[in-house]
Structure formats: C-alpha cells, structure tokens
C-alpha cells in the first residue's frame, strides 16, 4: 500500500512518511496478530459435540498486559508525533520569500509582492492558480479565503492547510526538486470544488530568476 504515496519533494516530507511507515508497521503487525489468532480460535474451538467450553471469566494479568502494551506504544507514538508537529507548526525557519494565497470559489489567487516589496498592498501582482517558487528555499504562504473554507493541498510536499475566511494562516514548505506539482483544494467548497486546482511550479534558481524577470519585474516597472 505504501507505494501509492506520491513522490516526496519537501524537506520535512520524509518525517511525515517515516511516521506513517512506523504506524503502518505497528498496525499491520497488530492486525495480522489479531486476525490470525481469531481465525485459529475459530478453527480450534469450533463447535464439536460433547466438548465443553472453558469456564473462565477472564484473566486480570493478561488484561493488564494488553492494556499497558498498547498504551505504551501509543504514548511513544505521541512523543514522536509531537516533535514532528512542533517542527512543522511552531519552529518556522525564517525566510525572505513570502507569498499570499487567497482562495475563492473556485480559484487560487496567488499574490507576489509588488514594487514596494510588501504583501497585502495595492500593487501586489496576482496570478491565477499558478504558484512559482524557487527550489531549496523556505517559502512562507499566507493563506486566507474570501468566501468559504478551502484547503491548500500539495500532495508531493505533504502540505495541507485550510484557508479560512476571515483569518490568515501561515504555512511553510521547502521544495527539494524542481518540477510541476498539482495543487488541489481538499475541503468541500461548493459545486466547483472538484475542478478547483492549480499548479505549483518549482524552479531551479536560474529558471526562477528568469521567470521572475519576465513576470514580476516587468510588472514592477
């Protein structure tokens, strides 16, 4: 099942994936253990005439064991998750590259800073559904929505964040491989939800400079 995961092109994607794998192995082992035991019991203890079931109400030791083991595993998983979560959400690497994305029914409005170099001003440069970023650079995305809740999802970056009207939420990522990645909306946003998608273009440094010169600099003059 794991081979269906989309290719990971972000700096933190492997942490999410390794947590995913870890949980996958633990749950798969549990699943196999319980299922095999269940099938074995069903065969071994199927009804046979003249046999009588074991008259037992339980075993406290056993029950304590199978309470403590899952609890311990889950606590360890919590600790591991907390660290990754904090890294993704709280320890934001600083960056001078920020863009703003405003979601609306049914488009992504992508804003780059205009001549004043600041976001959220009149001279911001707007693109429809296309996000261009340089590779190996931390990108801050200020996400908001103008009508309903949307969700900015880039599967290859393991990035997903809801865009909530009336609030601006900031997310970050750092892409490690140039390319063109799909950017769907992941939260039901109306009848056009399904067609609402854009593209993330990750350029290497030269290509990005070229793109910026053509599309950003020209408009800045």
């Amino acid at each position: 099942m794991l081979r269906w995961l989309p290719e990971d092109v972000s700096t933190y994607g492997h942490e999410i994936d390794s947590l995913f794998y870890l949980i996958y192995y633990i749950t798969a082992a549990t699943f196999i253990l319980v299922t095999v035991l269940m099938v074995v019991f069903l065969v071994m203890y199927r009804e046979r005439p003249g046999r009588r079931a074991i008259y037992s109400h339980g075993n406290t030791t056993l029950e304590i064991i199978w309470t403590i083991i899952p609890a311990a595993i889950l606590i360890v998983l919590s600790f591991m998750s907390v660290n990754t979560w904090a890294k993704l959400k709280s320890e934001v690497p600083p960056s001078d590259f920020a863009i703003q994305v405003t979601a609306k029914q049914f488009n992504w409005d992508v804003f780059y800073p205009g001549p004043d170099g600041k976001l959220g001003t009149q001279d911001d440069i707007r693109f429809d559904n296309d996000v261009h970023v340089p590779v190996n650079k931390v990108v801050h995305i200020h996400l908001t929505a103008s009508d309903v809740i949307h969700s900015f999802f880039i599967p290859n970056l393991r990035f997903k964040q809801d865009a909530v009207p009336g609030r601006t939420v900031t997310g970050w990522f750092e892409a490690t491989k140039p390319g063109r990645y799909e950017l769907p909306c992941a939260e039901l946003c109306g009848f056009g939800h399904s067609g609402m998608k854009g593209w993330l273009h990750v350029h290497n440094a030269e290509d990005y400079a070229k793109w910026a010169a053509e599309n950003l600099a020209s408009k800045q003059q």
Binding site: Y55, L88, S90, I149, F153, R158, G192
Partner: protein, 584 residues
C-alpha cells in the same frame, strides 16, 4: 416497600388487559416492543435510500459524467439525462451520510434495539415513560419526513456535507441550496428532540426499573452500552442543537455567527459540531460493541472475557470522548498547542477500544464456537472494527494527519467503523428476530448474506486506503480531472463494482427478512440457548413482557458453568432451594 418504590412501580404496571385497536397496537403504540419494531422498519427503509444514494455517488466516481442507468427521468437541473451534475453530486453524498448516520444507525441500534431490549434485558414490563417513548418515535419519523422532503424542494437537498461546515452552509449563495439546507437543519433539530426523549427514557428505565437482583454489574453489556450511549446522547446533542439554531439564524434571520463579513467565526461551527460529532461516533459504535459482546459470549458458549473491563472500557470511552473532538480539526488552522493536546487524548482513547478487541479474542479462546449467522456477523464487526480502529491511529498522529486529512483514507477509516456497524446491526437483526417477530430467519440465506456482504464490504472499503495514501481527496466530483490521480482511477472503478455488488448482496437479506416475517419457522422461547432475560419471556413477548416478574441470580454470561449440565444458565434460573424466595 417505600413510597418511591411504589411510585416507580406504578409506571411499569399499567395493566391494559383490554384489546387495543389497530391504531393503538401498530401505529400509536406505547409498547416498547412495537416502538422498537417501528424504529427497525424506519431504519431499514432509510437504509435502502441511503444505500441507493451511495450507489449513485460511486457510479459518478468510477465513470464520471456518464448517464446513470435508469435515472434519465429525473429532470434538469438535478440530472442531465441521467448524468449527475456537480451540484447534485454534493447533495448525494451529503444526504447519504446524513441519512446513514442519523436515520439508519441511530434508529436501529439505539432506537430499535434500545427500546426492544432494555426492558426485556433488565426484566421489567416496559419503559419508564411509554408515552414519551411513542412520541420519541413519531418525532423521529417526522424528522425523517422533513429530511426526505428536502429532495423535493427547489434547489434540491443540503449539499454542504454531513458536517455542514460554515461558511459553506451558512449562506445560500455559496452552495446554491436554499430551502434544502434549512430543512436539513430543521430535521436535525427535530431529531434532537426525539433522541433527547429516548435517552431520558433509557437512563430512567435502567436506573430505576431493573428486576430484583439485577445489579448494575449483572446487566448484559448491551444494556451497559445503551446506558452509556444514552448519557452521551443526552449531553452531546444539545450542543449540536445550539449550533444548528445559530446556523439557522445565520441563514434566515441575518445574524453572522459563522460569517466573517459580519464578525463571525467559521471555526466556531467546527468546534461546536465536533463537540457533538465525536461523541456521536461513540453513540453509533457503543451499542454495536455491546451487541457483539453479548453474541460472542453466547455463541462461544463461554463467559465474556473480563466483564468488568468491558463495562469500564465503555465508561472510559464515554468519559474521554468529550475531549478528543479537536482531532477532526488538526489542519483547520487551530492553535498547534491545542492540536498537541487533542492528539494525546485521542491516542489515549484508543486504549479502551484495544482492550475491547483483545477481550473479544479472549472470549473466543477456549470456547465451543457455533458459527450461526448472527455470530458470523458479530465476528465480521470485530474484524472490521479492528481495521477501522487501527487505521484511526494514523490520523490521531497530527503530522500524518496533515497528509491524509480529507482524503479517502479518512473515508476508508470511518466506513470501517461506522459502516462496519452494519455488521453488528445485521447480527442483532438475525439474533433477536425470533424474539421480535416470533419466527426464525433462514440460516442458509443468512450465511450467504454474510459471506457476500463481508467479501464485498472489504473489497469496497479496503482499496479506499490505497486511494487515500495516493492523496485522493474526498468529496471530489470527478477524479479524472487530476493528473496525479490518473493511476488510481482503476481502483475507483474496482471500488464501484464492489459497492454495486455489496448493494446486491443485501437482496438475500431482504428476501430472508420478508419471507421469515410470514413464513419462517416458528421460534421457540430460547432458540439460541442464551442466558439473558429476554429469552425467558414468551416469544414474541406479550404486552407486559413476562408471565412472572423475573428474579436475577447471576450475571448474564454463565455459559458452560460447572453448576449445571447444559452449557447455559439463564440469569433468572434459581439453583439452590429457597434462593428465589429469600429477601421477598
């Protein structure tokens, strides 16, 4: 006997000995068994509708924008010569989920079996408030009619998802649905009243009206689960009611609780909705767990493994279910610290569920297992709940949830849990059918039904994990619009074919159910040789249930007890001389 006892008893003893007319017997009945049957028929009817809606959703996902066979008669703009437009598609999955959760699983597991079983299993004559009980059904039926009527209003039914996230649901312009969404809100408000009446009735009955000797820790786990469910319902639903009222005001009176342009907070809806919504999941699954526990013990001919642990784990689940709701909102933009807190509580709530699964295994161990159709369905529930529970750990981990949130992984997870309940539901139908209708259901048909349902259930829902891992978003109309989902489209076709076959697999059940109602073998009093009190009542139980007030001497799971030569020992069977009269 003190004053209060007399007061409690007078409610139970309302000796209608006169024959009641048709209306009082079948329609406006105050007998808990008839009300239970009414809930069962309501739920099964809605199950057919909800299932057909799912089939349409699946058709669109496998073969997008092709005409659905047989539906060309539905006029524009709802269908275009059988082709489902996006607007209708959104309405379809919204109504599928709403109907399945609120009008199938709740009426059958809580409404039907709660009503039918609680008085029989605790050994009393009826519910504490028979009139309230009747009202509970009829108010629930009205809610169902309101919900169904929204299919016929201009703009079609609600299309904002069963979660009804604001702001999408808060303004008609965002979905294009006006009256339909209002009716959805009103229907759920009305259903809330029905559930409130039901849960008050259940709690009062269980606390006050247990048979002599029926202590709390001699109650069957089904009763325990319904007790805990009723408490959850009682305290969770009012918060949904408050949220729904605010949403309705936003839509009709011009308030702006959830609309940011008027100063509202869209996330507030999510908090209030999931504050109810997470306990709701346990409201749905706890009765299934209770029924499964009873059935596994009965058909393993063995006491349940760790009765107290089973009861306490249900209490623990209820206790913890109030503080985990935020795990539905990890990527909504809430405070990351809150996310951490909610992740931890969510991890903790997995423990009692694990205890239950292991104890079920322990029950099977060393048993003398009879693979009847109810037992097969109960085992099917355990196996599906195992998968659903384990896949839940993925989304409990906040970083992993970033990727799988709002994908088919979630869809797979909750169908394994919530649609998996359908196995416990069928188990309950097969098991208590003799007591409810006085006739046995056909075993061979039941086994065919189980085999087909189990196979196609897993073929339908397991591949959804693959889709989710591939990043397939839920609630999308047309997956072929996305390049990265192209390689997964074959799975969509596979799932749809399995789902259609899963639907067809229910035909043996329908035949079996209807045929057995009229032509099934007459059932004896205790066909499964079970211990709980309902089996010592006549089949089907008359008004007032028991010929004599049963007295309870032991717990419900005394199978293969060395004290008797047969392998069951009913709760109300006196063993030692004089035991029955002592204390009276």
């Amino acid at each position: 006997m003190s004053q209060t006892v007399a007061a409690g008893a007078t409610h139970a003893v309302h000796g209608h000995h006169e024959e009641l007319g048709f209306w009082r017997t079948y329609i406006f009945s105050m007998d808990h068994k008839m009300i239970g049957r009414q809930f069962l028929f309501l739920g099964l009817f809605m199950l057919i509708i909800g299932g057909l809606l799912a089939m349409m959703v699946r058709w669109q996902l496998a073969w997008p924008e092709t005409p659905v066979p047989g539906l060309s008669a539905i006029p524009e703009p709802y269908m275009y010569e059988g082709i489902i437009p996006p607007q209708t598609y959104n309405a379809l999955f919204t109504m599928h989920a709403t109907i399945m959760i609120f009008f199938v699983v709740m009426p059958i597991m809580v409404g039907c079996y709660g009503n039918f079983l609680i008085p029989l299993m605790i050994g009393t004559r009826d519910m504490a408030f028979p009139l309230l009980n009747m009202l509970s059904f009829w108010v629930g039926a009205v809610a169902g009619v309101i919900m169904l009527s929204s299919f016929f209003v201009v703009g079609g039914p609600a299309a904002a998802g069963w979660t009804g996230y604001a702001t999408l649901s808060a303004k008609a312009a965002y979905t294009g649905v006006g009256m339909g969404q209002n009716l959805w809100i009103i229907s759920l408000l009305v259903l809330g009243i029905s559930s409130l009446m039901g849960s008050i009735n259940y709690i009062t009955t269980i606390v006050n009206m247990r048979a002599p000797g029926m202590t709390y820790f001699r109650m069957p786990l089904t009763v325990w689960s319904l007790f805990v469910t009723a408490i959850l319902l009682l305290l969770a639903l009012p918060v949904l009611t408050a949220a729904l009222a605010m949403l309705l005001f936003d839509r009709t009176l011009g308030t702006s609780f959830f609309l940011p342009e008027g100063g509202g907070q869209p996330l507030l809806w999510q908090h209030m909705f999931w504050f109810f919504g997470h306990p709701e999941v346990y409201i749905l699954v706890l009765p299934a767990m209770g029924v499964t526990s009873d059935l596994l013990s009965t058909f393993s001919r063995k006491p349940i493994f760790g009765y107290h642990a089973m009861a306490f784990s249900m209490i623990a689940i209820a206790f913890l279910s109030w503080i985990v709701w935020g795990h539905h909102m990890f990527i909504s933009g809430m405070n990351p610290l809150l996310g951490t807190a909610f992740m931890m509580t969510t991890m903790v709530i997995a423990v009692p569920s694990a205890i239950k699964v292991f104890n079920w295994l322990g029950t099977l161990w060393g048993g003398n297992i009879r693979l009847t159709s109810p037992m097969l369905f109960a085992l099917g529930f355990v196996s599906n709940f195992l998968i659903g529970g384990l896949s839940g750990i993925f989304m409990a981990s906040t970083p992993v949830d970033i990727f799988i949130h709002d994908t088919y992984y979630i869809v797979a997870h909750f169908h394994y849990v919530v649609a998996g309940i359908i196995f416990a539901l069928f188990a309950a139908v097969y098991y208590w059918f003799p007591k409810m209708f006085g006739r046995m259901m056909s075993e061979p048909l039941g086994k065919i039904h189980f085999a087909l349902t189990y196979l196609f259930f897993n073929l339908t829902f397991f591949p959804m994990h693959f889709l989710g891992v591939g990043g397939h978003m839920r609630r999308i109309y047309n997956p072929t619009q996305y390049e990265f989902l192209q390689p997964l489209q074959d799975w969509n076709v596979f799932i749809t074919i399995s789902a259609l076959l899963l639907g067809l697999s229910q035909v043996p059940f329908l035949i079996n159910f209807i045929w057995s109602l009229f032509g099934g073998k007459k059932a004896e009093r205790n066909p499964w040789q079970a211990n709980t009190l309902e089996w010592s009542a006549p089949t089907p139980p008359p008004h007032g249930n028991f010929e004599v007030q049963p007295t309870v001497y032991r717990g419900p799971y005394e199978y293969s007890s060395p004290e008797v030569k047969e392998d069951w020992l009913p709760q109300d069977k006196p063993l030692a001389k004089g035991a029955a009269v002592r204390g009276h």
